[in-house]
Symmetry: C2
Subunit: 272 residues, 2 copies
DNA sequence: GGGTATTTGTCCGTATGTATT
DNA sequence: AAATACATACGGACAAATACC
């Protein structure tokens, strides 16, 4: 154990939190009170609190105090669906297994024509700088920001006749079904790559994350393949790690009986 | 943009880093130099550096300086293998697609008899407190800590004849193959749940992570099901998020041609 | 709405400790 | 042993956000 003051204080507070002595969503003593309790300076107490913050145990609210964070029941996304997913609701082809009545809503896609950068060109098997169509959406669950999603398609698909990719703000039957019906392009499989990184400024704002990099985000790259084994779409989805989890089913698995924990809590909800 | 001094300084440094003006693995100006450059106090400069640290852009080394972090090429783990995985090498049943010559090594399992806690009992469909066998392993790639893995089996499997679960330190043909041959229990599928959380003290030490909670860990729960649709194993695997990534293949996907980036770097290697 | 007390956020200066070269 | 650079700890001052009257 370190003899360093602010770590000792943080350790002591951590124990009190995890033992339940200080309950969820309740307030810690103020910095002045802690300063007296531990006979340390206010800055040292603040260093201890900062440590607990990066560890995700507490949060501070200016003008109010320091509070033990409330765990929110996570959104569950199943990454293994049908390979030929004709899931039907526009670009939302990832199936969601969530608690009862949770329902995702989605903004209309923002459609752009772009030069493909390295990552996109790489995944789609194109040369860097090739023109691609991007369709960007914000997704919410019960009104709270859930995910940012951008799909990239080679411009050649539009040339081949799928012109609604760049026209229609929304494609009700789903892009996969549309491409199959319109130009005979079928999705036979996809590959997901899941990584974690710090959020950028846009993501921090949209998800209302703390503006230091404490809460990381999942970055899911989904590359879809057609009947010839060629990639024809890259979808990049971003999810905050503090309220999301993924499920992957392989082989024969029973349906998930979702024993919903009673302690289901309202979305944390900084009053701000 | 905020008029807050330490955020301005952090922003300015971030731009210089991301524009490449300060290259990877090179040193930033010292705190004293930054103090003069920005005409701020040393503490304010340090606040800026702390912000860049939680965002994972720089790292500090006492006695040396502040350095731009070097991204390390990630270990890639494929979560979708064969449902009846008889993968052959003991408890390592997750297939690894990694750069050339990377090879995992594994410690002998530490075998324990435990009372199942909530999570384990839940996943295995047992009552809380039921006896289970746990087999814990540390896994390395090229000698660097890669993953911590613990598998839980109901004690009833041992009663049914699979006594090497509690005896043998290692089961060369793999636990799945052993259970099939010994007691006719076949794995027909599994379900993975992937979450991210802050590391605990053990994990921080084993992975040699910074001792604040900056670097989170993946927590992968794999529940394996037998031919009757009953869960018979829970495996919990921990991976640091800063050097791991997961791949999920669904449907028909081409083999991955791993265009290894030339910039492959040695493991970051805090000299500590 | 306004004013005030409370609480955290920012910024400064200084001193001393610890790790590395 | 000495110099350098970051880490810890203290104290003080003022700003900003919030709650309450």
């Amino acid at each position: 154990m370190p003899e360093i003051r602010y770590r000792q204080i943080a350790e002591d507070l951590r124990k009190k939190i995890e033992s339940g002595e200080i309950d969820h969503d309740t307030q810690l003593p103020t910095e002045m009170e802690l300063r007296e309790q531990y006979d340390a300076s206010r800055n040292t107490v603040r260093d201890a609190i900062k440590l607990l913050m990066t560890r995700g145990l507490v949060e501070t609210r200016p003008g109010q105090g320091t509070f033990v964070v409330t765990k929110i029941s996570p959104y569950v996304t199943v990454l293994t669906g049908e390979a030929d997913a004709s899931a039907g609701q526009g670009d939302i082809y990832m199936q969601e297994v969530t608690a009862s009545r949770r329902r995702p809503t989605t903004t209309d896609p923002r459609v752009e024509i772009q030069k493909s950068v390295g990552t996109v060109a790489d995944a789609l098997g194109l040369d860097k700088g090739t023109t691609v169509v991007s369709r960007h959406q914000q997704r919410f669950i019960d009104g709270t920001p859930w995910s940012l999603q951008t799909s990239f398609y080679p411009m050649t698909l539009v040339v081949r006749g799928a012109d609604r990719l760049i026209q229609a703000p929304d494609i009700p039957e789903g892009v996969v079904a549309y491409l199959r019906n319109e130009i005979g392009l079928a999705q036979v499989g996809y590959r997901d790559k899941v990584t974690v990184r710090a959020p950028d400024a846009n993501e921090t704002a949209f998800f209302r994350l703390p503006d230091d990099g404490r809460v990381a985000v999942f970055e899911v790259f989904r590359t879809a393949f057609d009947q010839d084994g060629h990639p024809f779409r890259l979808t990049v989805s971003i999810y905050p790690t503090d309220r999301n989890q993924f499920t992957i089913n392989v082989g024969k698995v029973p349906d998930e009986l979702r024993h919903q924990q009673e302690s289901a809590e309202i979305q944390s909800g900084h009053p701000g």
